[in-house]
């Protein structure tokens, strides 16, 4: 008996508690505490160690240029205007390609979300095309659209199209059926239901899809710029790689990371604006 009780909440050796025993706390753990400065500290330590390792010659500046060198390379990019030039080129490609792919994807996704036949036809086609890495189609796009901008738009657009289709029709599926039934029970016409219920109800899912498709666009702009691009962050990074300028390369990678973070932040802002009701 005492054996059994030992592992218990109440520290007692007898099956009866003689005097009042305080209830022992057994919650705790598995809760998230905040460490507001930990992230900053971690970044500082990481960068410090990295710089230090380079300074004392532990890491060759060729293989791992110190943060100061990366910073210097970045400031060169800023002052000689190449940052802006490359950024502009990449952002322009993302904007056009992403917009085309998203519009097309939403159109097809809506058709598939609402029409049973469109869905029956679309789902297998999409599942067949979706898993194809779009970089594998680059050679084909070059054949079809040439080495200029159109092939880059096409690469990004196609990459964005399929996830958008999937996000859109799943979003429509996830519009609560009970809201549609409610509208029907009040005699709302089909078009009103579509406009007032299906569309706003699908918005969260569609916006979540934007998050995925924008990161795909970022990957694909880099891939597409590896071929025949004079300017662009992807072309820039590739060139730095070819020239073995690792500091410049890392500066380019840093710019990509910032681009990704910025796009993500913008989408969050958009979500917060449009989905205040959640």
């Amino acid at each position: 008996m005492s054996e059994i009780l030992r592992s218990d909440a109440l520290p007692s050796a007898s099956p009866s508690l003689s005097g009042p025993q305080p209830v022992r706390f057994r919650g705790g753990g598995f809760t998230v505490r905040r460490h507001p400065w930990a992230a900053l500290a971690a970044f500082a330590v990481l960068i410090g160690l990295w710089e230090g390792a380079s300074r004392i010659g532990l890491a060759s500046p060729l293989f791992l240029p110190p943060p100061s060198a990366v910073g210097a390379a970045l400031s060169v990019m800023v002052t000689d205007g190449s940052l802006w030039l490359n950024l502009k080129a990449s952002l322009g490609r993302i904007a056009v390609g992403w917009t085309l792919g998203t519009l097309g994807g939403m159109l097809v996704g809506f058709a598939m979300g609402i029409g049973s036949l469109a869905r029956a036809v679309g789902v297998p086609l999409v599942s067949a095309f979706f898993p194809i890495p779009k970089i594998a189609l680059l050679p084909l796009f070059i054949l079809w659209f040439g080495i200029g901008e159109p092939s880059k738009f096409a690469t990004i657009g196609f990459g964005v199209f399929f996830p958008t289709v999937i996000a859109t029709y799943s979003a429509i599926d996830s519009v609560p059926r009970n809201l549609i039934r409610m509208a029907q029970s009040f005699g709302l016409p089909w078009r009103s239901i579509l406009r007032s219920i299906v569309l706003p109800g699908a918005l969260p899912g569609i916006l979540a899809g934007f998050r995925i498709s924008s990161s795909i666009a970022l990957i694909l702009v880099v891939a597409a710029e590896m071929i025949g691009a004079e300017y662009g962050i992807g072309a820039f990074v590739l060139m730095a790689g070819n020239l073995m300028q690792t500091d410049t390369l890392l500066a380019g990678v840093l710019v990509l990371s910032l681009m990704g973070l910025t796009i993500g932040t913008l989408l969050s802002l958009l979500e917060r604006r449009l989905l205040k009701w959640r």
């Binding site: 060759s60 500046p61 060729l62 293989f63 070059i142 054949l143 040439g146 080495i147 200029g148 590896m226 071929i227 025949g228 691009a229 004079e230 072309a235 590739l238 060139m239 070819n242 020239l243 073995m244 300028q245």
Partner: protein, 311 residues
């Protein structure tokens, strides 16, 4: 007696011929070296492999990337490889039919045109640079379209998306044979230059100097043989087959997995003493520096260690 192990990174091209010959004919073994050949697919990778210690030596074309590695003390040129030389058709300027008809008929007309190259900082990029130096234009006066590899350059060329390409002889001749364009000149005739080099890491020179010496002795033996067989001219200046021609072609064909007739069509010039065109190497460094692709602080002569070839 056991042989000392060593390795060399090469591309499967005729320009690496002397290495293949030295290996096949046992010149390395004679010097007491067991040299392993590691094949790479692009010129960028060979100096990287030397820098990272994957291989001891490398033989390949000189690119801006190479000089950046040299600037960081990762590689040093120790001997010459092939060079562009008048009378040796190695790299051609090829114009599309449309561009040709529009007046692109000689190398100097390339100014202001769209030219496909592999990458920024490649040998093709430099060749446009020295052509400009000769005819008074700069790289900024042409539009270079980097397409990563030769096949893509060819498709862009055939699709009329560029006016011209700079391409190796075999590719150029194929393009002409397909009726897709016209050769308007050869880089060797216009702008002779030091296309490639044998290089190793400074650490190897410091710590294993005897190995470097042995390697270069064997390399030079093979190089002399190569020069005698392939670079001999008769009194009229026409190329003639030198001693051992067929044997050496067979060795190279075997190593590059090419048909012998392809090999014979593109055998570059190589200096029999493995001597470098020092002025051109200096010019290369200065050119890349002016292009902003190589660190301005790099002292051009510091990329070479000429003690092994006695220059």
């Amino acid at each position: 007696q056991t042989l000392e192990k060593s390795s060399v990174g090469v591309l499967a091209l005729s320009s690496s011929g002397p290495i293949f010959i030295a290996k096949a004919k046992g010149y390395f073994a004679k010097e007491g070296l067991d040299v392993e050949l590691k094949m790479f697919t692009s010129a960028q990778q060979v100096p990287v492999a030397v820098a990272s210690g994957d291989v001891d030596f490398g033989v390949t074309g000189l690119t801006a990337g190479f000089y950046n590695l040299a600037a960081k003390g990762a590689v040093t040129i120790v001997a010459a490889q092939s060079r562009d030389e008048p009378g040796f058709p190695l790299s051609a300027y090829v114009a599309t039919n449309a561009a040709y008809e529009a007046g692109l008929t000689k190398p100097s007309d390339l100014k202001g045109k769209r030219i496909a190259i592999t990458t920024v900082g490649s040998t093709f990029h430099y060749m446009i640079g020295i052509l400009g130096q000769k005819y008074g234009f700069t790289v900024k006066d042409v539009t270079m379209v980097p397409l990563q590899d030769v096949p893509k350059m060819v498709s862009a060329f055939k699709g009329g998306q560029v006016d011209a390409i700079l391409a190796p002889s075999t590719v150029s001749r194929q393009v002409v044979a397909d009726g897709a364009g016209k050769i308007v000149g050869w880089a060797g005739d216009e702008t002779p230059w030091q296309l490639g080099a044998l290089f190793t890491g400074p650490k190897t020179i410091q710590q294993r100097r005897p190995v470097v010496e042995k390697f270069i002795r064997a390399y030079k033996t093979a190089l002399a043989e190569y020069h005698a067989a392939f670079n001999a001219k008769d009194s009229s200046g026409a190329l003639v087959k030198g001693p051992g021609y067929d044997e050496l072609v067979a060795i190279i064909a075997e190593a590059t997995k090419q048909k012998p007739e392809i090999v014979t069509a593109g055998l570059p010039y190589a200096d029999p003493q493995a001597k470098l065109l020092i002025d051109d190497v200096v010019n290369q460094v200065k050119f890349w520096q002016s292009e902003g692709q190589v660190d301005k602080t790099l002292e051009p002569k510091s990329v070479m260690d000429l003690s092994f070839v006695g220059q």
